[in-house]
């Protein structure tokens, strides 16, 4: 009996201990929480910002007279003043311009890709072989056919063509004396020969537009765009022999 009573007493003491402990813990947590929350100021309401849509989506009243759209100021020109004393041949080649569209692989990318593709071939040509082969062409071509093929040279040319066309496009400026009808209709073809270092060997309007001022502007565009970057090594003869470009004030189609 005494053992049972002693056991019950122990349990009661244990329960009291646990209860007290719980109460103390709860009290501690409450005190900590109250203390923490006491020092914190309630978040200030966000400042009221009154806005009004001024332009977006709002049509100008048709009964009002039209207003001239203000264009954003052009970015500061990076062009340095022309140095009339500077010899044309001492000019630094213009850095390659990044095309706006999908990035086009460079000439070296194309060559590297070609080499990877043909890595398992026993007679894999080295870069120098490729160049040598390309430069070794005769009037009758290669007896075994070219290992480069037309695809690679075509892509090399396409890359370089994009580059020189983009440069000419950025320089295509036409006097505002052209009538609206001429701006739509005019089209001139210019023939240009580019040396191995990218300098302009010659340029000539081969199909005149019918407007001498525009033809002059076309030639000026080509000459202002020179020097170009150096053509791909394997394509230098192609550009030295000359290529043609159509130029139009608005659209060539």
């Amino acid at each position: 009996m005494s053992a049972l009573a002693s056991r019950a007493g122990q349990n009661r003491i244990l329960m009291i201990f646990i209860g007290t402990s719980l109460a103390l813990h709860v009290a501690f947590v409450v005190v900590v929480a109250v203390t923490l929350s006491w020092g914190k100021k309630p978040p200030a309401p966000p400042p009221a910002i009154k806005t009004r849509l001024v332009k977006l989506g709002k049509q100008r009243d048709e009964k009002l007279l039209p207003r001239i759209e203000k264009k954003a100021p052009p970015p500061p020109s990076k062009k340095s003043p022309p140095d009339v004393q500077k010899d044309k041949k001492t000019k630094e080649p213009t850095p390659k311009k990044e095309p706006d569209k999908e990035p086009t692989p460079s000439a070296m990318d194309v060559l590297n890709k070609f080499k990877e593709k043909h890595a398992d071939e026993q007679d894999q040509p080295s870069l120098s072989d490729l160049i040598a082969e390309r430069t070794k062409t005769t009037d009758e071509g290669h007896e075994q056919g070219s290992k480069i093929g037309t695809e690679v040279s075509g892509r090399l040319r396409a890359t370089y063509n994009d580059e020189i066309l983009a440069k000419m496009q950025s320089n295509l400026e036409v006097p505002n004396t052209l009538s609206d009808e001429e701006r739509v209709r005019l089209k001139a073809r210019v023939f240009l020969r580019i040396d191995g270092d990218g300098s302009l060997l010659s340029s000539k309007v081969t199909r005149k537009s019918g407007n001498p001022t525009f033809d002059n502007a076309v030639l000026a565009t080509v000459k202002k765009s020179a020097p170009f970057s150096a053509p791909p090594l394997t394509e230098r003869d192609f550009y030295r022999n000359g290529v043609s470009v159509n130029l139009c004030p608005s659209s060539c189609r």
């Binding site: 009339v84 000539k204 001022t213 502007a217 470009v245």
Partner: protein, 446 residues
């Protein structure tokens, strides 16, 4: 005057190629291949003023008195060309100008390097009292010679020679006639009075046409360019007068009771359209050149005013308040139903037809109560704006080549005569002193 025809230009090109070593490195090189594979198309040009180099006119004798006409002509010529709204005359400080005048001696690459698309080369020979100026004009990139012409002049005709050269240069490069030799009439305030003045198209050589009366207004040219209509209060009533630009007294054309204002002579020179209020309300009437009444054109409760003949004389544009506010209307010159042209804005006035008749310039008050210039496009009825946020701009009048308009602007603080292009991108003040109103650009010199 000789504008090199294409065949001559080709011949000139071949000549330059044949010059060989003497030719500039920039000249065309002969190539075995005339054409190559087409690699693409370049389109979408930006439009700009034509950059033109106008170096000093050279003189054989470099004494100061010999140089005077050359300096004078060069100065007027540069200003004329800058006022065309076509050319950007490049700063002379950038010129090397160490080359010759003839095509084979011109260093085209030097001119290309300073950004010139065209270059003028000229030399004056003779004495300051009587001289000749030989002028050459070249397209720089193509090395084409587009003008080779000599001009005789005297010390009293320096400005005239410069104007003639400027007009020929415009014609050579653009195919359009220049307006440097035309004149503008405008009303100028002089010591409390307002008088009609005539001036060169660059604002220089002003001459007072009217002397009598204190209020002379609304001048407009006769189509032959020999006389000017204007309204004057010299007899205490706004009467219509005509005065010869050569001088002499003004002739009273219409002195009916009330308004006799805003007279315009028809393109055939036979009829005058004007506003009369002899019957109480302001209406548009037609008179013969002697002032005899031909016809009443309008009959509305509103005020009808500011008639302006179309270039073919078939219709008249005018201002009417019949819809409540002043707007532009058009009606057949022979009479008939008036058609309302403008529906935008609340105060449209002073219409002026372009020489081709495809545009009507007018003044309108915008929603900020500023007066600005607008163009009504006859073909589609659209309205485009010429001036904006540049003070008040009023009273447009087309240059006879249709490329420029003259107008009044107070953007500098006083009402001055300005000229500008129809897109408003080029605007230049041509008067600096006095106060002006109602400029009217005269026809080509005949």
């Amino acid at each position: 005057m000789t504008f090199a025809p294409p065949s001559l230009r080709v011949f000139g090109l071949v000549s330059v190629l044949c010059i060989g070593a003497a030719a500039p490195s920039f000249a065309q090189e002969d190539t075995a291949t005339e054409d190559g594979p087409l690699i693409g198309e370049v389109e979408g040009a930006s439009f700009k003023l034509f950059p033109l180099a106008v170096p000093d006119i050279r003189v054989a004798d470099k004494r100061s008195d010999e140089r005077r006409p050359a300096v004078g002509i060069t100065s007027v010529l540069r200003r004329d060309l800058a006022l065309t709204g076509v050319f950007e005359v490049l700063k002379p400080q950038s010129y090397l100008d160490t080359d010759g005048l003839a095509k084979g001696d011109v260093k085209f690459d030097d001119w290309l390097n300073i950004g010139a698309d065209g270059v003028l080369k000229a030399q004056l020979t003779g004495t300051p009292d009587k001289f000749t100026v030989q002028v050459y004009a070249y397209q720089v990139a193509s090395t084409d010679q587009v003008l080779s012409q000599s001009y005789a002049g005297t010390k009293d005709t320096i400005r005239d020679v410069a104007h003639r050269i400027a007009d020929d240069v415009v014609k050579a490069f653009t195919g359009l006639p220049g307006v440097a030799r035309t004149h503008i009439v405008a009303v100028k305030k002089v010591a409390g009075s307002k008088h009609v003045f005539i001036m060169d198209a660059d604002g220089e050589r002003q001459r007072q046409l009217t002397r009598a009366g204190t209020l002379n207004l609304l001048p407009s040219w006769a189509p032959d360019g020999r006389s000017v209509l204007f309204t004057s209060y010299r007899y205490d009533n706004p009467d219509l007068f005509e005065i010869s630009i050569a001088g002499g007294p003004a002739r009273r054309v219409s002195s009916r009771p009330g308004l006799n204002t805003g007279g315009r002579i028809s393109p055939d020179g036979q009829t005058i359209a004007l506003t009369l209020s002899k019957d109480g309300n302001s209406e548009i009437y037609l008179l013969d050149r002697q002032g005899g009444l031909k016809k009443r054109l309008t009959s509305s409760w509103g005020i009808d005013t500011s008639p302006y003949f179309s270039p073919d004389g078939s219709n008249i544009v005018f201002v009417s308040s019949r819809a409540g506010n002043p707007h532009l209307y058009r009606m057949p010159a022979a009479g008939g139903k008036a058609e309302r042209l403008t529906f935008q804005g609340k105060y449209n006035q002073t219409p002026a037809y372009s020489p081709k008749g495809n545009k009507i310039a007018f003044t309108a008050r915008d929603e900020f109560n500023r007066f600005d210039l607008f163009i009504y496009h006859v073909e589609d009825g659209k309205i485009t704006r010429v001036t904006q946020d540049q003070g008040n701009n009023e009273d447009p009048s087309f240059a006879p080549n249709g490329n420029l308009i003259t107008f009044i602007s107070d953007r500098t603080g006083s009402r001055q005569v300005w000229i500008g292009t129809l897109d408003g991108r080029f605007q230049e003040r041509i008067t600096t002193t006095g106060r002006y109103s109602s400029p009217n650009w005269g026809p080509f010199e005949k």
